[in-house]
């Protein structure tokens, strides 16, 4: 990214400014990092009631099979992701990864089967590369569109369903990872029961022209507060979810990243469509032999947060290197510092004591299971 190029704005930019948000550059966009409420309260409010996030910077992509058969789009996309797309039912969504030839992760994304097309949501920082990657490999079989006329918001938290039910009663029939079309205040929206906070909730794709109106009406509900990127990061970290560019990137493989659950049986060794994605040899080898390192949860024993980039050692003197922290901060809901990172295979067992180098000191941290909170997805 050219540092001098002007920051892009989402359709909700004026709304953020009017709400008093502190705006920061993120993935080329001018985005709200926090509102006057503050990161701590925004985080806690999302887990107690409902938080509304602008995630319009993320890429929304439509893959339409030229044959008219959704199976053709699914099989085409399976050439780029180690995920079972073919078995994804209509109006169901699934987490996925784009891999490269070395088995590294190019991006993580959501794939939804919308009946006559596939709908993808990809990371803001990767969306142009992702779209070019899709065009390069799939344009023979699919018509591809990177939507630039849709906003995307997330409504997350235990009150999200009740809030949305006031606009659309059928929302209660959706379960985790269902997708539906519905009119909210007469605006046609695409809603998925998903999110990235560990809470039950929804992501709502809205035509840009109506996005501010729909969002303002949701914010009128007393249970809903606007939430910035600061709390989005602490919420996803407590939920053990990866941030692309921090916790996963082209140097990490899905097995190293502890994302085996994202690769269904059909694509693994012995599966109906074994391999057939970039880097399959590496990824299937990792499944069979284990990876040399693994992403784990890390709980600092003390009060000091341990941030991404901190080196991990097996000893308190910093002699035996054990790994590196990739994300870390304070977890407002668990009320202690939380982190995740990669450690060598010898140190992955829960309860293993390691030491993180922070400002020249070696602070004790304990390897622990992720997530740090209990997710409340409505399965």
């Amino acid at each position: 990214m050219d540092d001098h190029s002007p920051l892009k704005r989402t359709p909700l930019h004026a709304l953020h400014v009017s709400l008093g948000a502190r705006m920061v550059p993120f993935a080329g966009y001018d985005m709200p990092v926090q509102y006057p409420t503050g990161v701590m309260k925004e985080h806690l409010h999302t887990r107690a009631a409902a938080g509304l996030f602008d995630v319009s910077h993320m890429g929304q992509i439509i893959l339409r099979p030229k044959s008219g058969k959704i199976e053709d789009a699914a099989l085409a996309l399976e050439q780029l992701v180690p995920v079972d797309v073919l078995s994804l039912g209509e109006n169901r969504q699934r987490y996925a990864l784009f891999t490269n030839d070395q088995g590294g992760i190019l991006d993580d994304l959501m794939i939804a089967n919308r009946g006559d097309h596939l709908f993808l949501v990809v990371n803001a920082s990767c969306k142009d590369e992702d779209f070019a990657h899709l065009q390069e490999h799939l344009s023979a079989t699919c018509a591809l569109t990177l939507l630039d006329d849709r906003a995307l918001i997330a409504l997350q938290g235990p009150r999200a369903e009740c809030v949305l039910a006031e606009l659309w009663a059928d929302v209660a029939t959706m379960r985790f990872m269902d997708v539906a079309e519905a009119d909210l205040h007469d605006v046609p929206c695409v809603i998925s029961r998903s999110g990235y906070t560990g809470e039950d909730g929804f992501e709502i794709s809205i035509p840009a022209a109506s996005a501010e109106d729909v969002t303002r009406r949701l914010l009128e509900h007393p249970d809903v507060l606007p939430i910035g990127l600061g709390a989005r990061d602490s919420l996803r970290l407590e939920a053990g979810l990866c941030l692309y560019g921090n916790d996963i990137d082209t140097m990490s493989t899905p097995v190293e990243a502890a994302l085996e659950w994202a690769i269904q049986k059909a694509r693994r060794a012995g599966g109906a469509r074994e391999g057939g994605f970039p880097g399959a040899v590496v990824v299937l080898h990792d499944f069979a032999q284990g990876a040399g390192r693994r992403r784990v949860g890390l709980k600092p024993d003390g009060k000091a947060p341990v941030r991404g980039g901190a080196m991990l050692y097996a000893d308190a003197q910093g002699h035996a290197e054990a790994g590196v922290v990739t994300s870390g901060g304070f977890g407002p809901s668990v009320d202690h510092p939380v982190a995740m990172g990669y450690v060598a295979a010898a140190y992955i067992a829960n309860g293993t004591q390691l030491f993180a180098e922070v400002r020249g000191k070696y602070l004790p941290v304990t390897v622990c299971a992720l997530p740090f909170i209990i997710p409340t997805y409505k399965r």
Binding site: V33, Q34, G38, V39, M40, K41, H43, G230, A231, D233, S234, K303, A304, P305, R307, G329, F330, P332, P337, R359
Partner: protein
């Protein structure tokens, strides 16, 4: 005597001892603090050296020593409850007391009017 630095610290100077903290503006910019690390009494620090570290939910920031001196006391209350820095930055949320090597050096710091102009 109340003085300020362009690093957003305040100093309340009584005799040759300065009580040092961060300004309300700095506390607001940092957001909710979750961790504070303070220097130990007896530590000698040069002006500009890292004296303390504060961490918000999002990020860590250093607090610099505003003048040459020796730490004579640190405020354990903000270590126990970092939120005190946000709620009362220029009162109960003070950081440390610094015995100044050269009290006259404080004259070169900003007065309140100059600091207010800086953050305006």
């Amino acid at each position: 005597m109340l003085k300020f630095t362009d690093e957003h610290e305040w100093l309340k100077i009584e005799g040759d001892v300065a009580t040092v903290g961060i300004t309300a503006h700095a506390a607001e910019q940092l957001g909710d603090l979750v961790f504070v690390e303070l220097p130990e009494a007896g530590t000698s620090l040069d002006k500009g050296a890292t004296a303390a570290t504060v961490e918000s939910v999002k990020a860590a920031s250093d607090v610099y020593c505003p003048l040459d001196g020796e730490i004579v006391e640190s405020n354990q209350a903000i270590v126990d409850d970092p939120a005190l820095v946000n709620s009362d930055p220029q009162g109960a949320g003070w950081f440390f007391k610094l015995k100044l090597s050269d009290p006259s050096a404080a004259n070169a710091l900003l007065d309140e009017a100059a600091y207010k102009e800086l953050i305006a």
